[in-house]
């Protein structure tokens, strides 16, 4: 599989004086491609993609073409047999010679059976080719989307990604299922029929060939116009999808804030735009069909006129004219189907371009070429040492989040990171989890650069639990097992017990086998966070990052998490980002961050007392104490 390499698309738009705290790099202002539906696609990428999809199918594509070649030959033999019947069999019969008639009968029988059988084979083989290409493409989009970094996903909206892998793949399916067959059939029948006509009569054949000139001009014209129309249409449908998905996923606030009418108006606008574009596309097609028919029918009339003239002159056999007329009708018949092909080709090309644009995105967090493995734990403890070595981080669009810093977290240490929203805590965590790579410097795990670790190794090393606890459809057990897919049911239950989730899971209708339905509609946010913890516990990483992962937990839940860290996860290196000082208090060390810098660093007790209670942490601590009062 070839992944076209391109420079990371980042002609950074001048930082628009923005730099709002904790704003993830997202589309704003002008000049960011993520505003548009089509990502910049390197020239030729679309064609390269199509080629790379079809090349593995070479043999079978050749087979389908051969099948069609024979099938069309069988189909197109008919009129020839008619000519033979009229010009040879009739006179022969009058001489009581049944031979030629028997030949006609046998020939027709053979052709009929052959064309049916070949048709059958063709559809089956072609279906297989088309399905295999789709299988390949779906897999590629899926894998690529997953390989792309979190920061890509934050910018490219989920709705777009979904329409890439659904409607856009669907339009390629149409091209493969119907379009390509049409094209090959059309081309083959053109070739055969023109050849037959030339063979029957050079003049008539040449005349038929000449008629192809205006037809091909018409096709070109249509194609050029249709490209635009189809691109507009698929952009319009993507907008409809985004709005649709957003509404369905946010149905609760939609209801609670009576957004129904406003939404309907907005959706109506988008839907109407799509309707116009859709209509434009269909009308473009109508113009083409009418135009091509016009040319074809005129050509038939002209050729018949000339042929009839020559028969009248005695320059042409009647049977030949009859066959020529039958062929002519067939010559232009597939013109509509050519339009259908162009139709599906246009929309597939537009879709393929978008898919190619997506696939051309290089993961900003690439897999290592030559992965290294982590050394055996040094201290005999399960935790590992983390070193931020001259790390600086800035978004590609500009805006420095973390100025250059060095930081060492010894193995087994529990480090709490506090600071106000936008201080850079999450960015620090994401660098450690390798959701982002640093702009400068390295993040080392027991001396190994995270960039040198293959994913499985990395995830045995570092796991991050965030505050958003998404559940996948499937059972509760399956959701926990994401932490370690080969875990037994006992291990899953142990992990849940350790985190205090066992009780509620057992109380669910089917216990661990309860289907969480659509994104866990019935499981509360706190419970989902417990499931997320159980998952992390099961993964048993050397370094655990908790990014505000206890925000929805009640205090007993939070205590359970702390207990688990002291027991099950004892000795692991832990980075805890928390708003709750209750969590922070149990840490070995506290980092206070502000504007991307660590401004205080010490044990909780030291920070409260050390600077005579004037530090920021001491302030926070006091505020928290007060809140408990």
């Amino acid at each position: 599989m070839t992944t076209p390499t391109t420079p990371a698309p980042a002609p950074a738009p001048a930082a628009t004086g923005q730099d709002a705290p904790d704003v993830t790099p997202a589309a704003h202002g002008t000049g960011d491609h993520f505003d548009q539906d089509v990502l910049p696609t390197p020239p030729g990428a679309t064609a390269a993609l199509l080629r790379s999809l079809l090349v593995p199918m070479k043999a079978r594509v050749a087979l389908t073409t051969t099948l069609l070649l024979f099938q069309q030959a069988a189909v197109q033999a008919g009129p020839l047999l008619v000519a033979y019947a009229i010009d040879s069999a009739v006179p022969a019969l009058r001489r009581d010679d049944l031979g030629p008639l028997a030949l006609v009968a046998a020939g027709y029988l053979l052709c009929a059976l052959a064309s049916g059988a070949l048709q059958y084979l063709f559809i089956r083989v072609a279906g297989r080719v088309s399905q295999d290409v789709l299988l390949d493409l779906r897999g590629r989009i899926f894998r690529h989307a997953q390989a792309l970094s979190v920061d890509f996903h934050e910018r490219y909206t989920s709705g777009r990604l979904i329409s890439r892998s659904t409607t856009d793949v669907e339009s390629l399916r149409e091209l493969l299922d119907e379009g390509l067959q049409e094209l090959v059939t059309v081309v083959l029948s053109f070739v055969y029929i023109t050849a037959m006509l030339l063979w029957l009569d050079l003049g008539l054949g040449a005349a038929a060939l000449a008629s192809l000139v205006p037809l091909s001009l018409l096709v070109r014209l249509y194609q050029r116009r249709a490209v635009k129309v189809y691109r507009l249409r698929s952009t319009a449908v993507a907008a409809v999808i985004v709005k649709f998905v957003e509404t369905m996923n946010g149905i609760r606030p939609v209801r609670a804030f009576r957004r129904e009418a406003a939404n309907e108006a907005e959706f109506g606008t988008l839907n109407h735009r799509h309707e116009r574009r859709n209509g434009d596309a269909i009308l473009e097609m109508a113009r083409y069909v009418a135009g091509s028919r016009l040319v074809a029918n005129t050509a038939v009339a002209a050729i018949v006129l000339w042929g009839a003239y020559r028969v009248a002159d005695g320059g042409l056999a009647l049977g030949v004219l009859a066959a020529a007329v039958l062929y002519l009708r067939r010559l232009y018949d597939p013109i509509d189907r050519l339009a259908m092909f162009l139709n599906s080709y246009q929309s597939a090309a537009a879709s393929l371009e978008k898919i190619a644009g997506l696939l051309a995105q290089t993961p900003s967090v690439p897999e290592p070429e030559a992965p290294r493995s982590l050394p055996a734990p040094r201290s005999g403890q399960p935790g590992r040492e983390v070193v931020f070595d001259g790390v600086r981080f800035a978004y590609r669009t500009g805006g420095e989040v973390l100025p250059r810093f060095d930081l060492t977290l010894p193995a087994g240490q529990t480090v709490a990171v506090v600071g106000s929203t936008g201080a850079g805590k999450s960015t620090l965590a994401k660098l450690l989890a390798r959701f982002y790579d640093p702009t400068e410097g390295r993040v080392l795990l027991d001396g190994v650069d995270l960039r040198d670790l293959a994913t499985p190794e990395l995830r045995r090393g570092v796991v991050m639990v965030t505050q958003e606890s998404f559940l996948f459809s499937g059972t509760v057990a399956e959701n926990i097992a994401i932490g370690r897919p080969d875990a037994t049911r006992e291990e899953i239950e142990e992990a849940s017990k350790a985190i205090g989730a066992h009780e509620f899971i057992s109380a669910l209708p089917d216990g661990y086998d309860t289907d969480v339905r659509k994104r866990g509609g019935r499981i509360s946010a706190g419970q989902r966070q417990l499931v997320a913890f159980a998952r992390a516990l099961l993964a048993d990483p050397a370094v655990l990052i908790l990014d505000e992962a206890t925000s929805s937990l009640d205090i007993p839940g939070e205590r359970a998490v702390q207990r688990a860290m002291l027991t099950v996860l004892k000795g692991r290196t832990a980075v805890v980002i928390a708003h709750r000082l209750s969590t922070v208090e149990t840490a070995d060390r506290v980092l206070v961050m502000e504007h991307g810098r660590v401004v205080e660093d010490g044990s909780p007790a030291d920070l409260v007392a050390g600077t005579a209670g004037t530090g920021r942490y001491a302030d926070l601590h006091r505020a928290w104490r007060d809140s408990l009062a």
Partner: protein
């Protein structure tokens, strides 16, 4: 979720497709005219061979140059007419059918906004989306092609057969020979294809769901390095779909084979018989040519029946899937009337009277999530709701704006039963901030002002942002005009939560329901929000789900939810002293000894063992 399998036997394609009638009705005239135009065009196609016959038997045989010119002129005129009618037909239906599709999509969207929230809990949005896109397109294609062409082809075939019978009845009968087997094949095909088509469409829906989940849950997948196993699972589903599609291809291949072979055989037979007749002088060469030409002209109408039926079948399945969703009952408007107990209770506040709740699709004998809730929040009072994780706090809050319906009992606002007012009216009175703050693709300002009734201006916006400590909004690239949500700037959880809070308070609602509104805020911001929020709460009746003492302290009193009931009500300090469960929830002071690893933790050693 994979939805109900096709209702095998008594489903009739026609009956299902008839459900499209209300949408087709407004454009019926256009469609009808288009069909007539198509029939005309198609019949012209059948007349052309007759002109050819006349040409061959008359002027050509009689060596009459003028007649030849005339014949060619006729051909040209007919050809022009045919081309014109072709274009006309498509022009007639283009806009109307795009309109039908759009109308159906708008209706689906509108309907989905009005079905109960529980419906959305059951249906994956991927399944809904595939109905709004692929299925609707299939229905439009059905209206554009099979609907017209099954009719047109039928008429064309009948007219063609009549023409052939008139020319030579024996040859006509020969041509008609395969009619019966063709019809039988079609019927058998239609049955089988329907089942497979339905299965394929459902599998596509499931696939969409997986894609969507993997996009939305990308951080978890990346965080655990699970993209390989996810890709494997995905691959499995894609393979299954491929299997189904190949099954479809097999069926299609069979029908195409039959539809190609049988008519071709009939034409061959007609040719043989015709040749004999011409040799015997019973038939003119021109008639034979015309006859065969007509027969060939019928090839396409006959051939295409196979794929037209396949399209019809897919459209029927799509229609069925579409109406599965459309048939879901929308939230009924104002169920009861007249229960507004005492109109005099203007300042009665929010009351729960013996409220019970169980999810509507739960088993009859399943325990109630909320068993017996009696709670009175007085006018202007704010009440914190505390309970263990999963005790039903969020469910309880969802009952107030009627996102879920109480199973028994009632809820009154100022003495008026919430079922006695329209949902719009109710939801205008009650503002909610959800635990998961969702922002929509709109500007920050629009997102916040959604909570007000349209008459709120910049001043209100500023006030709400100030209460929620969401001043950061002013510093965004385009201030409060900055686009957020799916298509805009992504904000942090804390920022989203503050905007959601601003949205809840912007309309100065009479009743406020806050579900753990400060969970994602840091201590410092939380303290600032609390100070500001206190002023808002002073003039509002509020129910606040709380996990922490700091949030509880915002409220005047606390209610403890336990075992589906309100176990205790009082002030924070009262309950801390008197209620063990409350003290446990609020301080984490473990009832069984704090730092002791409990029984549950004893077994974790074994787990550690297992890991080594």
């Amino acid at each position: 979720m994979s939805t109900t399998p096709a209702l095998a036997d008594d489903r009739s394609t026609v009956r299902i497709l008839l459900r499209l009638w209300p949408y087709v009705r407004p454009v019926r005239t256009r469609l009808l005219v288009a069909a007539v135009v198509a029939v005309l065009a198609s019949c012209i196609g059948l007349v052309i061979p007759l002109v050819l016959k006349w040409l061959v038997d008359g002027p050509v045989a009689g060596r009459d140059p003028q007649g030849v010119w005339l014949g060619a002129l006729y051909l040209l005129l007919l050809g022009l007419a045919e081309a014109g009618l072709f274009g006309l037909r498509r022009w007639l239906v283009a806009r109307p059918l795009a309109g039908v599709e759009a109308r159906m999509r708008a209706d689906l969207y509108g309907h989905l906004q009005r079905v109960p929230v529980a419906f959305h809990d059951r249906w994956a949005s991927g399944q809904l989306l595939s109905r709004a896109t692929t299925d609707l397109m299939l229905m439009r294609l059905f209206l554009a092609f099979p609907l017209t062409f099954l009719l047109v082809n039928g008429v064309t075939i009948i007219v063609g057969v009549i023409i052939m019978l008139l020319q030579d009845w024996m040859l006509g009968l020969v041509i008609l020979g395969p009619a019966v087997p063709v019809i039988i094949t079609c019927v058998v095909f239609e049955r089988r294809y329907a089942l497979v088509a339905r299965r394929a469409q459902d599998q596509v829906g499931d696939l969409t769901t997986v894609v969507e989940e993997n996009v939305l849950g990308i951080r978890i997948i990346k965080g655990f390095g699970r993209h390989r196993s996810q890709a494997r699972a995905f691959r499995q589903m894609v393979r299954t779909l491929r299997g189904t599609e190949l099954h479809k291809a097999r069926l299609l291949a069979s029908i195409w084979a039959v539809m190609t072979t049988l008519p071709e055989l009939a034409i061959g037979a007609a040719l043989v018989v015709g040749t004999v007749q011409v040799a015997d002088g019973d038939l003119s060469a021109g008639t034979l040519v015309a006859f065969l030409s007509t027969a060939l002209a019928l090839r396409w109408p006959v051939d295409s029946i196979g794929f037209l039926l396949a399209m019809t079948q897919e459209a029927a399945t799509a229609t069925e899937r579409y109406f599965e969703v459309m048939d879901a009952e929308p939230e009924s408007e104002t169920v009861t009337a007249g229960t507004s107990t005492a109109p005099g209770h203007e300042d009665d506040g929010l009351r729960f009277h013996a409220v019970r709740f169980r999810h509507p699709d739960a088993d009859e004998d399943a325990p109630y999530v909320l068993d017996h809730i009696d709670l009175h929040i007085r006018h202007g009072e704010s009440m914190a709701l505390v309970g263990a994780t999963g005790s039903g706090k969020t469910t309880l809050t969802a009952l107030v704006p009627r996102l879920h319906e109480v199973t028994a009992g009632r809820i009154t606002l100022d003495g008026e039963d919430i079922t006695a007012m329209s949902r719009a009216e109710l939801r205008a009175k009650v503002a909610v901030a959800f635990e998961e703050p969702t922002l929509f693709s709109a500007s920050v300002g629009e997102n916040v002002l959604m909570g007000a009734d349209g008459d709120a201006g910049p001043a209100e916006l500023d006030r709400a942002l100030a209460v929620a400590q969401a001043g950061f909004a002013h510093d965004l690239p385009e201030g409060t005009g900055t686009q957020v949500g799916e298509q805009g700037l992504s904000l942090s959880g804390g920022q989203r939560q503050r905007l959601a809070l601003a949205r809840a308070v912007v309309g100065r609602p009479r009743f406020l329901v806050l579900d753990d509104p400060l969970s994602a805020l840091d201590v410092h911001t939380e303290a600032l929000v609390e100070t500001a929020l206190r002023r808002v709460l002073a003039e509002t009746t509020a129910l606040i789900v709380a996990h922490r003492p700091s949030t509880v302290l915002l409220a005047d009193r606390v209610a403890l939810l336990s075992g589906g009931r309100i176990a205790a009500v009082g002030t924070h300090h009262e309950l801390l002293r008197t209620n063990a469960e409350y003290a446990w929830l609020m301080s984490g002071a473990d009832r069984t000894g704090d730092e002791e690893p409990g029984a549950a933790l004893g077994s974790t050693g074994a787990m550690e063992e297992a890991h080594r």
